[in-house]
Subunit: 243 residues, 2 copies
């Protein structure tokens, strides 16, 4: 896949038109391609001098572990997403990230980012947008957990993933392939795995969505949108703001 259609380029292009020079500079983020097995932990909370990655293939998730062993998944990453961007800006990584499936990712060093800003200021704007979009997703996730019922949370989460996947050309309105387990859903939504199972059963029985065998199938897309109160403006994927 050429840099012109890499998932990251596709995503950034939803915000800003990038010049040939910008794309050339951006290409430098993509040296150092790596492969990791499912389950590998790429970013370790509390460690210093971490790298960041740009995910090219597969799924990952970032999370924090609490002293009692509980885990909160903060974000799920799909192709085109940064992984551990904050860990190279901060003294110590504030979170961990691990591969959910086998993944391919480009390792990005702090210097790559800082140098690119000097050569292509527009790239700085694009990266700031990408970071802000990540923040917007965490914000919506926060609202989801803070103020919505377990069923609405689940519906919202599955719809958000569908919308994000479609931006990078994966899945469609009928559904998408999803490697997450019910434990992942529980840790992401602040629920117990047992309750996740009950919620999924109920949504399936209501004819709204089926989560089974690694696939999310939207049985009643608009019904699910209504239940979840899903408004995807926060994903800001309506085409470039800056030409």
């Amino acid at each position: 896949m050429s840099i012109l259609q890499s998932p990251l380029t596709l995503k950034l292009s939803a915000f800003v038109g990038l010049s040939a020079t910008d794309l050339e500079t951006l290409a430098r983020y993509h040296r150092r391609r790596r492969t990791f097995q499912a389950g590998h932990e790429l970013i370790h909370e509390g460690q210093r001098n971490q790298s960041a990655f740009i995910l090219a293939e597969g799924w990952a998730c970032s999370f924090k572990i609490l002293p009692d062993g509980e885990r909160q998944i903060v974000d799920v990453q799909i192709p085109g997403d940064f992984l551990g961007l904050r860990s190279i800006l901060f003294h110590t990584a504030d979170h961990s990230s691990e591969a959910v499936t086998r993944i391919e990712a480009s390792e990005v060093l702090a210097a790559d980012i800082f140098e690119s800003f000097e050569e292509a200021p527009r790239l700085a704007t694009a990266v700031l947008w990408a970071a802000s979009r990540d923040e917007a997703m965490v914000v919506e996730h926060l609202v989801n957990i803070g103020r919505r019922s377990a069923e609405m949370r689940m519906a919202h989460f599955l719809l958000e993933l569908g919308a994000r996947l479609s931006l990078v050309g994966i899945g469609d309105k009928s559904g998408y392939d999803c490697p997450l387990t019910q434990y992942h859903l529980a840790d992401a939504l602040g629920l117990s795995a047992v309750h996740v199972n009950r919620v999924l059963r109920h949504l399936r029985e209501e004819g709204l969505v089926t989560f089974q065998k690694g696939r999310v199938a939207f049985d009643d897309f608009s019904g699910l949108m209504t239940l979840a109160d899903f408004d995807m403006d926060y994903l800001d994927q309506d085409g470039p703001l800056l030409r």
Copy 2:
């Protein structure tokens, strides 16, 4: 107050050493000073072409409202914080922000930010850091709501505010003045106001912290830190990473 000691400069200096040129460019964010009354809504979710602000005096909060009228406060802003930065990068604002007290703030336009990145690339890095730090706070807030009990949430929230205030020279280890009501706490922590009141009473009776009459008093700072499992690394305020 000179730009050299503005709360924003103080905060950015915790991450990066800024040159004279950088500071000069930064000063341009501070034209267009405005005053707003308590309760004024500066950023409106769903609206286009919003401004951003840099808070100079007073407290604000950003939030989302759900269809059933429930509110989730995402973040509380204190002097030196950006307000609505995402709303100028996105097509439509993904959240609202309102003044908690009477505030003073500088209005920042999208062009101010983008132009400054061309003249002072290091500023781009600093702003990306500030945005990432905001994201780190939302992330910790998410963990707080997703996986901690009501008491731990409250303890954590009050401690975080204390740590952030001390970075910009407000409050100390004994406590700080806090204009938030118990309703604000409820909306921030995903609890009911009634339960907030019970939790505060319990923390007070345990001799840990007193929240009364607009003041947070830490009665047992280290006890509170332990209860909350508070580790402030995620605030990344240990001095500049980049000289």
